[in-house]
């Protein structure tokens, strides 16, 4: 029966209030890290208090108390957001506003304010975190928003917990196809105005200054630097996986700093069999460095700029994952251009490292060619040096100390010494910073490069050959190039001193865990590539699928599937829910429907009991009178008699008899027996004839 409520004032029901609070908690929970602690604590207290007042109206805070809280929170948040430049301020403002509003939850209008703010908070949340779990969580947040909205417009009599969840889930699921289509085809345009994006700086294996010897221990992390997929799905050989990031051209005696380089046009016109095309998905790094396979040629992405030292840089700091396509050559032919600014690549401080200078002088006295000098140096490395991740500290004439004293170190030490020595020897050289290696993921066919694979090597300018890559590390430890880094050093304690590495090492040791991790990373990769980086994929994807994009096509693409989808939802909504029927009753309906096909009059009338129906049928169909009688008797016993007193096979018997009846009716129908002289179903008459 309908419940009639007068709804002149639209007050929120307790159920709606509960859901509004649940929504608020769910939506703002992930952002608690970004808001000041005092706000989180105040919010927690406020929400628990509001929840308590829902149950009983005892804990009422006086008006002035509320006023104090409101003013204090507003002042605090204003101070906080004026100090923080990024999104934290915005997020705090939104959350504080919603929290304060939750104290005044009375009318439907208040509920609406909360819901709308919650929508916005949910969206802002994705600016902080775009991982897959956070996306799933975002879905849950949206569900609670819909639930709250639904509860606000539902009667107070209905269950408040599961019913709205079910209904909201249905509504969201029905909305998803349309959402996907919009997501797919909505044109992605560039930012309308520049926004400040503050992000905690990601750890990288690279820094903008290279000063070997400062630290005695290399701490590296296993976090992902970038991922690369290749157009032909084949990665280059391990020894060719040099990922160029930056070049260091200026040496001040202690360390190397990044060279000022000029922008350069992309070299897009090279067509070569050796050309490798690939797509990079770079993790955020808060710097402009980008990653490219040595030797980079061109990138189609507008955000990527090529520089004269052969590196790529982003036009703005990489604060979010970006993806870009690029092409490279593994072996770069000399293009004949002379070296620009030669003195710069020969510049060394006038004094220092006397032993090294002496060694170079000896080479020159011997009349070594450039190649011979390099070979001599590498031979020296190979014979007398060891590769270690925890070398001794260097002081004073660092290169002398390294070359003639400690004779141990990692890539940076070798690159440093090599470049210095070559410059002394009159060979223009520079240090290149980047990554070496990468883990091939078979499931999604991409190369995963982690931060611990950071590497440094040297490039030397040989007249007539151009810049040549020299990796002194290969001379010391060739296996560093060929074997995966983690396998190589998994036993050395200095490898990955991070605490998080423990899990990583465990993972590397257990095969299945490694598989799982690879699979997860594959999923993550796709997530980054197709969802988070969709704006970079959209054009290609749509063109691949639908050819040249035109407005008409876009509109058709939008309206045809959306129309179909909406029609389906509409049909589903307007469909009359079929009543639940007892299986025993279903057979009655089946027989009645079967007979109705022959003659409408033989359909069971709504007020007609099965007994009466069978009697009426027996009058028109005397051929099956016996079956009908037995059938209706069984029906009555099954449906109306005491269940405990029944034989077990009554039900079976009934169903068998029903089937038998149906087949007989079908046969009779074919013979044309049924349908002549049919008696009308007149329930009134039937009842009447038996009583009055």
């Amino acid at each position: 029966m309908a419940e009639v409520v007068n709804q002149t004032s639209r007050e929120l029901t307790p159920g709606a209030k509960k859901w509004l609070l649940i929504m608020l908690i769910t939506v703002s929970a992930p952002q608690l890290m970004y808001v000041p602690l005092w706000l989180a604590v105040t919010g927690g207290c406020l929400l628990s208090w509001v929840w308590l007042t829902l149950e009983r109206h005892r804990y009422v805070i006086p008006r002035w108390g509320k006023g104090v809280v409101v003013i204090a929170v507003i002042l605090g948040v204003l101070v906080f957001s004026s100090q923080s430049k990024g999104l934290d301020g915005l997020s705090s403002l939104l959350i504080a506003g919603a929290l304060l509003k939750s104290m005044e939850l009375k009318k439907q209008r208040d509920g609406w304010v909360l819901v709308l703010v919650a929508c916005f908070i949910a969206a802002v949340g994705f600016l902080f975190n775009q991982s897959m779990p956070s996306a799933v969580y975002g879905g849950v947040s949206l569900l609670t928003i819909v639930c709250a909205l639904l509860m606000m417009h539902q009667g107070s009599t209905q269950a408040w917990l599961f019913l709205p969840v079910k209904k909201s889930l249905f509504m969201l699921l029905q909305s998803i196809p349309l959402m996907l289509i919009l997501f797919l085809i909505f044109p992605r345009i560039g930012p309308l105005w520049s926004v400040q994006y503050q992000q905690s700086t990601a750890k990288t294996g690279l820094s903008d200054r290279m000063q070997p010897g400062d630290i005695s221990r290399l701490t590296r992390s296993a976090s992902v630097a970038f991922r690369v997929s290749f157009t032909d799905n084949k990665p280059p050989a391990p020894e060719q996986r040099y990922w160029r990031v930056m070049t260091f051209a200026d040496f001040d005696g202690q360390g190397w700093s990044i060279a000022d380089v000029t922008k350069q046009d992309m070299q897009g016109d090279v067509s070569d069999d050796d050309l490798i095309e690939y797509q990079v998905i770079a993790e955020p790094s808060a710097s402009t460095w980008l990653f490219a396979l040595d030797y980079p040629l061109a990138s189609s992405a507008s955000a990527v700029q090529r520089y004269s030292d052969g590196t790529f840089k982003a036009r703005a700091a990489v604060s979010q994952r970006i993806s870009y396509t690029a092409s490279s050559l593994l072996i770069k032919p000399y293009d004949g251009h002379p070296l620009v600014n030669r003195p710069r690549y020969l510049a060394v401080p006038a004094a220092g490292n006397p032993q090294t200078r002496k060694m170079v002088r000896q080479w020159q006295q011997k009349g070594f060619s450039a190649e011979e000098k390099i070979a001599a140096l590498f031979k020296n490395f190979n014979q007398h040096f060891t590769y270690t991740l925890s070398p001794q500290k260097l002081q004073g004439n660092r290169i002398d100390q390294f070359l003639f004293d400690t004779r141990e170190g990692f890539c940076e030490h070798f690159a440093n010494a090599t470049a210095y020595t070559l410059r002394l020897a009159g060979i223009p050289s520079r240090v290149v910073g980047g990554y070496l290696g990468g883990e091939w993921n078979d499931y999604e066919e991409y190369l995963l490069i982690r931060q611990y694979e950071a590497h440094a090597w040297v490039e030397a300018w040989l007249d007539g050959k151009g810049w040549i890559r020299l990796d002194p590390t290969t001379a010391v430890a060739p296996e560093r190039v060929i074997q995966p880094f983690d396998q190589l050093f998994s036993s050395s304690p200095e490898f990955m001193a991070d605490s998080s590495m423990m899990a990583f090492r465990l993972q590397q040791n257990l095969a299945w865990l490694k598989t799982l991790s690879l699979r997860y990373d594959a999923l993550n990769y796709n997530w980054h590539r197709w969802i988070l980086g969709y704006h970079q994929q959209q054009n290609n994807l749509l063109q691949d699928w639908f050819g040249q994009i035109s407005l008409l096509k876009m509109l058709l693409l939008l309206f045809i599937p959306v129309g179909c989808m909406l029609m389906i939802v509409f049909w589903w909504l307007l469909k009359v829910q079929s009543r639940w029927m007892h299986p025993v009753d279903k057979e009655v309906v089946a027989i009645s429907d079967l007979l109705a096909k022959v003659s409408v009059e033989l359909k069971r009338a709504s007020g007609e009991t099965v007994q009466m129906y069978s009697v009426r049928l027996a009058e028109t169909l005397p051929e099956i009178r016996a079956e009908l009688d037995a059938w209706s008797g069984l029906y009555q016993r099954l449906r109306y008699a005491d269940a405990s007193a029944q034989a077990e096979d009554t039900s079976l018997q009934y169903h068998r008899l029903s089937q038998q009846l149906m087949s007989k009716i079908k046969r009779l129908g074919k013979q044309g027996v049924i349908g002549k002289g049919v008696k009308q179903p007149d329930v009134e008459k039937q009842i009447e004839t038996r009583v009055w």
Binding site: R579, G607, T609, Y640, A641, I687, V691
Partner: protein, 304 residues
């Protein structure tokens, strides 16, 4: 015992000619321990039916003619001054009997009607501070003239439902009437009829009727009927829960008489009209051709 019931019905029908269905309903009403209201024009055989029923059940029987100046004490009894003993002695009224035929009940004033109806409800009479139990079994067979007749006090709706059923005999059909005319008055034969069911057996049967099983689907059906009557346009006041209970009670007796120990919707439909009609307030100012009560039966689906 069921043969005895059939035999009883046959016996009554041999006196009240051509009305076997009504007789069955009346018997069912008594088996369900309910009081019966017979509404009909004078001369249709109401009294004969009541008299015969009393006889074949072997019940003690009294008849009270209700009039407008009747007082409650005229039915319930009252204290009479005895000159020999110089004290008031309670004289039981006609209500102290196993079967009371209350003739033309709607001729008396509401006060008197109430007194009887209260006694029916409670099975006892309170007079001058003493409560006296009515005999068991105790039935009231009341007759009433159609309420639109002149000089009647219609029974209040709230008290009408003390009667389990309201039936009406109606005119006999042509054949029966001819037979009736030929045989003349059959009333004198009543005394010679055999007693078919004695009061011991009656009580057993009543208990058996109570034990008829009512399954969930039937309860559902009854609930739907009640629900429909409440939302029907033609009916001002729908069936009360008490009315629905009465329906089950009567239908159980009918089921028992039909030889079943469980209730089916057929039983409900059979007794529906007579149980329900006087419990509903039907809107009179609408000109409906169809009987709204039977419309309920046709519109409510038996299968849920």
């Amino acid at each position: 015992m069921r043969d005895r019931i059939d035999q009883l019905v046959d016996t009554v029908s041999s006196v009240v000619l051509g009305k076997e269905d009504v007789v069955r309903l009346a018997v069912a009403c008594m088996l369900a321990r309910g009081h019966l209201l017979i509404e009909d024009l004078p001369g249709m055989g109401k009294t004969t039916l009541a008299h015969t029923l009393a006889h074949v059940f072997g019940l003690e029987y009294r008849r009270v003619q209700f009039t407008s100046d009747m007082l409650p004490a005229d039915i319930l009894g009252g204290a009479v001054f005895n000159q020999q003993t110089s004290s008031f002695v309670y004289h039981p009224g006609p209500v102290f009997t196993q079967l009371l035929l209350a003739d033309e009940i709607n001729r008396s004033t509401p006060k008197t009607q109430s007194a009887l109806l209260e006694a029916m409800e409670e099975g006892q009479v309170s007079s001058e501070g003493v409560t006296r139990q009515l005999p068991s079994p105790f039935f009231v067979l009341a007759t009433q003239n159609p309420t639109n007749q002149f000089g009647t006090f219609p029974l209040p709706e709230s008290q009408l439902d003390r009667f389990l059923m309201k039936i009406s005999l109606g005119y006999p059909d042509a054949d029966t009437e001819k037979k009736l005319l030929k045989h003349g008055d059959t009333r004198s034969d009543i005394e010679e009829l055999p007693v078919c069911i004695d009061s011991k057996m009656l009580q057993d049967i009543q208990t058996a009727c109570q034990q008829v099983a009512v399954s969930e689907p039937v309860l559902d059906y009854i609930q739907r009927l009640a629900q429909f009557s409440r939302s029907s346009e033609e009916i001002v006041l729908g069936l009360s829960p008490r009315g629905a209970l009465a329906l089950i009670q009567a239908a159980k007796a009918w089921a028992y008489m039909s030889g079943r120990d469980f209730l089916t919707p057929d039983d409900v439909q059979q007794v529906f009209s007579s149980v329900v009609e006087h419990r509903l307030l039907i809107r009179k100012d609408l000109n409906y051709q169809a009987d709204p009560i039977r419309a309920i039966l046709t519109k409510v689906d038996v299968l849920s």
